[in-house]
Symmetry: C2
Subunit: 225 residues, 2 copies
DNA sequence: ATAATTCCGTTGTTTTTACAACAAAAGGAG
DNA sequence: CTCCTTTTGTTGTAAAAACAACGGAATTAT
C-alpha cells in the first residue's frame, strides 16, 4: 500500500494542502481504502454513491452501457483523479448506466461525502480548503462541458467550428488563436467527420471568413455582404 | 424592496433553511443588494465574478455574444434562481462572452462566494446546509448537461434518439418510458430538425426498433439480424 | 358541436455530411 | 538526405439531414 498522504498530495482535491497536514485532515474525514484487481468493478451500475472515489494508484475506466448493452468508455482515471463526485454531490444519486471498472491493480480511497462537506466542529482550515477544491473541480468541469455543449448544439459543421473559434477567441482575447487540437482531435471534439471538417475549413478560408496555418487560426470580421 | 428572508426561502439555495433562520445566517455572509432597471446589465462581459447572484424579484437573461456579435439567450432567470455560481466556483473566473441583463425591474442579491464557502467560526449548521445546497445545485446541473452531451455527441439523428431513449429507460427502470417533451421540444433538445426527427421515428417504428404513441415510447430488444 | 390552433407525420427537394480513397505535406528516425 | 509515418487536404459518391410545404389528428377554446 502506497504512502497515503504522499499520494493524496498529488490530487487536485488536496491542492494547497501539504503532505504533513493531510494526516490530521484525514482524521476528521470518514474514509475507506480498498484494493481492486484488474477487471474488478469499483462502482457497479445502479449503485448508490455517497462517497467520492480517489485513485491512489493504478487505473480505471468510467464506462457507460446503453439499453442494448453497447459499452463505451467515457473517461480514463489515473492516480490523483477523483470520480463519482457529481453523483455524491446531487444528494447520493444512483448510478444509472454508468460503471467504474479497474483495468490495473488499483488502490482506491473512498471519502464519505457527507463528512467531507460538513465542516468539523474544530472548523479546521484544511477542511475548508478541501471543500473549496471540490467546488473548484466541479465548477471547472461544468464550465468545460458547457463550452463544449455550446458548440455541439450547432447544427452544421461550419457553425460548430465558428462557435468553437469564437469561444477560443474570447478566451484568448485575440482574433488570432492557437488551438490545442490537431485536426482529428478537433473533429472528435466537435463530433464531426475529420475530412468533411477539413473540407469545410478550406471553404471557409476560400470565402475569407477565416485563415489558418497548422494550429493557428485567424478570425476575420469583414463578411461585408 | 421585498422581504429578504421570505424571498430567499423560495430559492433552492436556501432549501431546508426556514425563514426565521435566514436572518442569522445572512449575518455570517457578506452580501450586497442592488436594484436593476429593465435593460440594465447585471454582469458584464469580461467581468470578474466572485459572488453568486440570486434573483429576489424581476427577471433577467443570461446571453452569449460570439465573435461576430451574434447574441443568443442561454437562460431565463426568475425569482429564486441563482447565476454566476460556476464562474465563482472555479476560482473567480472572468466571464468570457457571457453577460446577464435584466429585462424587468429586478432586485438582485450578490452573495460573496469566499464567505459563503468558508465556514464561519461558529460553524453554524445552516452554513453547512448552504454549502451543501450549492453543491447539490451544481452537481445536478452537471449531471443534466452530461446527459445531454451524451446524446449530442452522437452523429446521426437515430443514434441521438436511441441514446436519449436508452438514458431515460435506465432512469425510469423500464423499457416503456414516457418523455417530458413534445416532438418539437425533443428535437430542440437533441439539436435536430423536428420533421426529420419525426420521419426517423417512423422509420424506427417501421423497423421494429421502437414503438410509440404520443409521449410514450417502448424500446424493443430483438433486433435479431 | 364547431371553429381555431397546435401538434405531428409525410413527402419531395436541396443542402450538407459522412465515408472512402487517395495525394500532398509535414515531421521524425536512421 | 532518404525512408517511413503521421497529419492534413482533396475529391467523388452515397447517405443523411435540413428545409419547406402540406394534410390530418388532437387539443383547446368558443
Amino acid at each position: 500500500m502506497k504512502n497515503l498522504p504522499e499520494a493524496l498530495a498529488l490530487s487536485p482535491l488536496f491542492e494547497g494542502i501539504t503532505e504533513k497536514d493531510i494526516l490530521p485532515l484525514l482524521s476528521c474525514l470518514t474514509f475507506k481504502e480498498r484494493e481492486f484487481s484488474p477487471g474488478e468493478t469499483i462502482l457497479a451500475e445502479g449503485e448508490r454513491v455517497d462517497s467520492v472515489g480517489l485513485v491512489i494508484s493504478g487505473g480505471a475506466h468510467i464506462s457507460m452501457n446503453d439499453f442494448w448493452g453497447n459499452r463505451s468508455i467515457v473517461a480514463d482515471l489515473g492516480p490523483g483523479d477523483i470520480f463519482g463526485e457529481v453523483y455524491a454531490l446531487s444528494g447520493g444519486t444512483n448510478l444509472s448506466g454508468v460503471e467504474v471498472v479497474a483495468y490495473q491493480s488499483s488502490e482506491i480511497l473512498f471519502l464519505n461525502f457527507k463528512r467531507m462537506i460538513t465542516v468539523c466542529s474544530s472548523a479546521c482550515d484544511f477542511h475548508n480548503r478541501l471543500i473549496s477544491n471540490l467546488l473548484k473541480i466541479v465548477g471547472e468541469k461544468n464550465l468545460m462541458i458547457t463550452e463544449k455543449m455550446r458548440c455541439l448544439t450547432k447544427r452544421s459543421t461550419r457553425e460548430k467550428l465558428l462557435s468553437y473559434f469564437s469561444l477560443e477567441s474570447k478566451k484568448q482575447g485575440k482574433n488570432q488563436i492557437s488551438i490545442p487540437f490537431n485536426r482529428q482531435e478537433l473533429a472528435d471534439y466537435l463530433s464531426v467527420d475529420r475530412s468533411a471538417m477539413s473540407a469545410e475549413l478550406s471553404r471557409m478560408k476560400e470565402e475569407g471568413i477565416i485563415d489558418y496555418r497548422k494550429n493557428s487560426f485567424v478570425l476575420k470580421l469583414h463578411h461585408d455582404q
